[in-house]
């Protein structure tokens, strides 16, 4: 069963003093996320990631379209007890301690009174906050607040977890811990939908990713497929003090690093390059095909928009000139 079915969800705002100008925050979005999947929603800042999450959480209302979450209509009140949500840069009631906050959220989520305290302590331990559980949140650092945010998102054992930029504001250790937590959620069979603009996180964690830009979904793909293909290029590393003259003639882009040369050249020139190395008696260190990365997919998906924008700018410049 699909965990999330987004059916042409669309959001626009009326802006300007008279609220007559329409600003499109999300173009009709159609997307399905399967149960048990870890899905990464990628895009630069302002792309529409947070708007999508807010629509699914019922914090903003769609201009058109709808969504089904865990087989129920997104407006169905029963949905909320089965989902967890971590907003971007979360801010919590700072008059409460982490323990009090989680207890409060547990009450609101309908976690039974018997066992609630134990569950709260378990979550505090899981995000490494047991020692600071009694401290008021106003004394917490940004990273600690992010941990509290993660704890509250999974406190009531939801089937589906939405995380908006979960690694934001965390140090490398914190990011590692969040990655581990998402992996654990995957092993527990939870569905995780998280937005990020950090591609390495998405590459490491996600089954599939979607790229959104300027409110429009540009592409969806399985990470394994996106990163398994080669680009028709090979990378050759060999020992040399300078780049051999013949190499550039083979279409290679080379750079010297210490006593080694690192060259990337078209796959069809691979044999010619190896022959040249033998001729010049240079020691080969490695030869590897250049694999596609998520970054390339991401940039490729964003590029048309940038090109279009550039094109529009040029057109308008020409228009002004005429």
């Amino acid at each position: 069963m699909a965990a999330i079915e987004i059916l042409d969800l669309e959001k626009s705002y009326l802006v300007g003093f008279w609220r007559k100008r329409q600003k499109l925050a999300l173009r009709p979005l159609r997307l399905t996320i399967e149960e048990g999947e870890v899905f990464g929603f990628l895009g630069p800042n302002g792309a529409g990631k947070t708007t999508t999450l807010k629509l699914l959480m019922g914090l903003v209302f769609p201009t058109a379209g709808t969504a089904r979450i865990l087989g129920m209509d997104m407006d169905d009140p029963r949905v909320k007890s089965q989902i967890g949500f971590l907003p971007e840069q979360p801010y919590f009631y700072d008059h409460l301690s982490a323990r009090e906050l989680l207890n409060y959220y547990g009450q609101l989520s309908g976690v039974p009174a018997i066992g609630r305290s134990a569950r709260v302590e378990q979550m505090l331990a899981r995000v490494g906050l047991s020692d600071s559980a009694g401290v008021q949140l106003r004394k917490f650092s940004k990273g600690m607040l992010q941990r509290v945010g993660l704890a509250q998102a999974i406190l009531h054992d939801p089937k589906l977890v939405f995380l908006d930029e979960p690694m934001s504001g965390l140090d490398p250790m914190g990011r590692r811990e969040v990655r581990d937590l998402i992996q654990q959620l995957r092993h527990e069979g939870k569905t995780v939908f998280f937005s990020t603009h950090i591609l390495s996180d998405a590459e490491a964690l996600c089954d599939r990713v979607g790229v959104i830009h300027q409110g429009e979904l540009r592409g969806v793909g399985a990470v394994a497929e996106l990163t398994s293909g080669t680009q028709g290029k090979v990378e050759i590393i060999f020992c040399a003090q300078k780049v051999p003259a013949g190499l550039t003639g083979l279409g290679a882009e080379a750079r010297i690093s210490g006593d080694m040369v690192n060259a990337v050249l078209p796959e069809e020139q691979q044999d010619a390059a190896l022959e040249m190395l033998r001729r010049e008696r240079l020691k080969l260190i490695s030869l590897t095909p250049v694999r596609s990365s998520l970054e390339e997919y991401y940039i490729q998906k964003l590029r048309p928009a940038e090109d279009q924008k550039q094109g529009r700018k040029e057109e308008s410049r020409k228009g002004v000139g005429v």
Partner: protein, 263 residues
């Protein structure tokens, strides 16, 4: 979500609002109140003759009312808007909490804070009375009725602050609520003016006089200070009036908040 769940959630939200107010040192106003009242009681005890009770009841209850109204306005305008600005609301509304439950819970939390505040101040008023009169009299029981009416005023002020803050900035909401409190305190005069005014002006004055909350009907401070009784009919009428008026204002706030995009 059953109705028991609804009541429980409203209760949790109300308790959290109360706890926030207490931890944000809202009840520190009691210190200022205690200083004011004890200073006045000592002063009155020394200089006035036979009007100690009148002065202490008047001054005490007026202070209870003003301190409470200031708290009701300044916390009331931020009850929901502060949660939107700080985004604390996101993690609440992503749970099985309906928007109306949140608004009602916040309202009860603030009114609960004001009730506790008023109870503590009431103790101060009675202590001051005991200090100047050396004993309690039967007519002092009417002070309790005046305090009850003050709490009813707080209900309306909280509801209005909540209503105005649901569609305007906190500053404007404070201005609107305070303005209505002032105009409402003169509601009886306004009704009198409407009766003697003809034409469009008369219609307008009548409409305003009956639309603004009638705080003057809820003010029996002077009456009880003179030891006069308050009729049971007025207690009933004022109770129903205050509950209906505040329920309407809270419903208005809910209706607006239900449609609001939390950007």
């Amino acid at each position: 979500m059953n109705s028991g769940g609804t009541n429980a959630r409203i209760g949790y939200i109300a308790f959290n609002t109360f706890r926030e107010a207490v931890r944000d040192r809202v009840l520190y106003n009691l210190i200022a109140f205690a200083l004011l009242l004890s200073g006045a009681a000592i002063l009155v005890g020394e200089i006035s003759i036979d009007i100690e009770r009148l002065v202490v009841v008047n001054l005490g209850l007026t202070a209870v009312s003003l301190f409470g109204v200031v708290i009701a306005i300044f916390i009331g305008i931020g009850l929901v808007s502060k949660e939107i600005d700080k985004r604390t609301l996101y993690t609440v509304l992503s749970r099985p909490v309906r928007r109306w439950e949140f608004v009602v819970g916040k309202f009860f939390g603030l009114t609960g804070t004001l009730v506790v505040n008023t109870l503590l101040m009431a103790i101060g008023v009675f202590l001051a009375l005991l200090y100047v009169a050396h004993r309690f009299e039967m007519m002092d029981a009417w002070v309790l009725v005046a305090l009850y009416f003050i709490v009813l005023q707080f209900l309306i002020v909280c509801a209005l602050a909540l209503f105005f803050s649901s569609f305007s900035t906190p500053l404007m909401a404070a201005v609107f609520t305070f303005a209505l409190f002032v105009v409402g305190s003169l509601a009886e005069d306004l009704r009198g003016f409407a009766r003697i005014t003809q034409g469009v002006g008369g219609w307008l004055a009548t409409a305003i006089a009956y639309l603004v909350p009638n705080f003057s009907a809820l003010n029996v401070i002077s009456q009880v200070a003179h030891g006069d009784a308050v009729s049971g009919r007025l207690i009933l009428y004022d109770s129903v009036y205050a509950l209906l008026y505040s329920a309407m204002a809270v419903s208005g706030a809910v209706l607006i908040f239900q449609r609001r995009n939390l950007k």
